[in-house]
Amino acid sequence: MTFRVDRRQFLMGSTALLAAGAFSPVLAQDSSLRLLFWGSQARADRTYGVTDLYTKAGGPAIEGEFLAWNDYWPKLATQTAGGNAPDVIQMDYRYIVEYANRVAIAPMDDFVGSALELADFDADQLEGGKVDGKLYGISLGANSVALMINTADFEKAGIPVPGPTTTYADLPAMAEAFKAAGIEKKVIADGSGSEPMFENWLRQRGKALYTADGKLAWEAADATEWFTMWADFRAKGVCVSAEDQALDTGPLETTMLTLGKAAVIPSNSNQLVAFQAINQDKLTISNFPRIAADAPGGHYRKPSMFFSIGGTAANKEEAAKLINFFVTSKEASLVLGVERGIPCSAGVREALAPTLDEQSQTALNFVANLGDLLGKLPPSPPAKAGEIDASLFRTLSQEVAFGARTPEDAGAALFTGANDILSRAA
């Protein structure tokens, strides 16, 4: 069977091809930027609102794509491995070191001062996006760790919600008040497996999670004391039981607060709005407990997420300009709100503050007014930090909770296990 093309078809076809070829350089110049971010519809609406503003103001078209957190990382990794990485990538502090070390995202120092006008950008937020001294990500918002609190329970128990002076030692008394008021919930979730809480606790003691050169900044004895404290709370019924805590697999709807098992959980300041949407009772936020009334703060303002430029992006300067628009434009901030965190540019914050609703105001005030709770920004964690947290820390905390290990054992195991993971070659 022969495939026959008559002469006219051939001529038309080849003309069309040539024409397309002639036009494509024009198309290529007008090429759009690809933006990839995680989040849900709520965030997508805001993000697309900003990209629309940007295009209307004369920028190139933006092709946005968004995914759920769990799907985001496999897809980004696959696209990068396949040579198809996007131009602007939303990045998380957990992965930024890996991506930066592999040059899957590009350093942005050259753009500071030109495409990136970061004059009134918070210095600590800028630092947070640096890996090995080079800038790899622009913070999209600051947030801080915070306790997420169900105010209705505290009202019922007749005690004030946790505040700036609350210490860990105050928790048992709260548990008593709860019991007296007939509340079945525990006061607080089991925080023994929460890395941010552990870090905060360490910082109050003058230590930290990791040193600047990626080693552990604590001892086995610290870990043992941590696990013992929580074992104590568990035994006294101050925090939730092992079985209940194990229901928390990560998403907001599985946390002890939403499941009605505890009145207080460790969380982040920018999640207040999201939590309130799925909880009927009124929520508020407060700082993590102090270890003693006069302990220094362990908090710090950390970047909630970054925008980075793809390592293989064709036009890095255009990408930088888009990022600049996101973080420094006042109109953009009105669309974005504090959904990704508190804006890092002082001018933007001022413009935004009056327009926020009550809960967003609460979050903003909290982050802005940490006062003596605020400590220095820690160095960026080593690449293996995520693995130590997910694979070792949480498992050990569960083992202690279920009675499969003693706190002493767990403390030692955490120390040696973490060192093992850190020293293992990539």
């Binding site: 496999p74 229901l247 990560g250 693995e387 569960q398 279920f402 499969a404 990539a426």
Partner: protein, 315 residues
Amino acid sequence: MTARSMSTSTVSSQRAVNNAWWSRAWTNNAPGYLFLLPWLIGFLGLTIGPIISSFYLSFTNFDLLTPPRWIGADNYIRMFTNDPKFVASIRVTLFFVVFSVPLKLAFALGVALLLNRGMRGLPLYRALFYLPSLLGASVAIAILWRQLFAGDGLVNQVLANFGIEGPSWISNPRYSLWTLIILSIWQFGSPMIIFLAGLRQIPQDMYEAASLDGASKSRMFWKITLPLLTPVVFFNAIIQTIEAFKSFTPAFIISGGTGNPINSTLFYTLYLFQEAFGYFRMGYASALAWFLLLLVAAFTAFSFLTSKYWVHYDE
């Protein structure tokens, strides 16, 4: 020389050509390969490349963001000597396979037999039993399972009526795997449908002839139904076992991808996924995958070899 002898010699030389090995091979094998052609193209073009790639990757360090780096058998050495999570995941997966597959098949066959009797409301029941399998990887399943099996879930509320105080099945390391086994069994719709199709292929006149001979229902089941169903039973057993070894989604959505509590739901492919996409160790994940392949292939080969003792084909 006569014309006939000339034509004979032409005929014999023709026959010689026809009997040449390559000509015979072509005539004998061409039909088979022609039917197989689409699959062959797919296999050689789309499948074999990535498979060989993944085998190569298992001997490398591949972090997805930079090109792979050859490290020899280090991945395999680490797997067998220095990886407690590997051992845990093998244990969890084997337990899951051993318990979920027979139970699931038993349910599927039992319900298929029940539904095959042509009772009233049959199409509705059939669709209802298939419904859970339709829900697939929905987030809703994770939420539902928690509602059923958490400490204050429905199951415990029912048990409380009998005075039994149940643990939090889904978040207790001792029982969490069982909730996943139950989830797998609950989605027995697929093997059930296949059993139904197999049952339907058994000719009715065999049953008629047998009942004319005075056979009881039970005898008919053991002597007619079951033997003629063995090809389908074999298929379901092999497929369900392979899928159970590769099971990923239930553990992923219910444990949130963590395999917790205390790695009690760390299925093998979940661990593989963590290594590949969570910790940027695609090379190690490839080694894990090939070990699984060997394990499953050994099991399947064994099944095929022993199948001649109990599977009846109509040939």
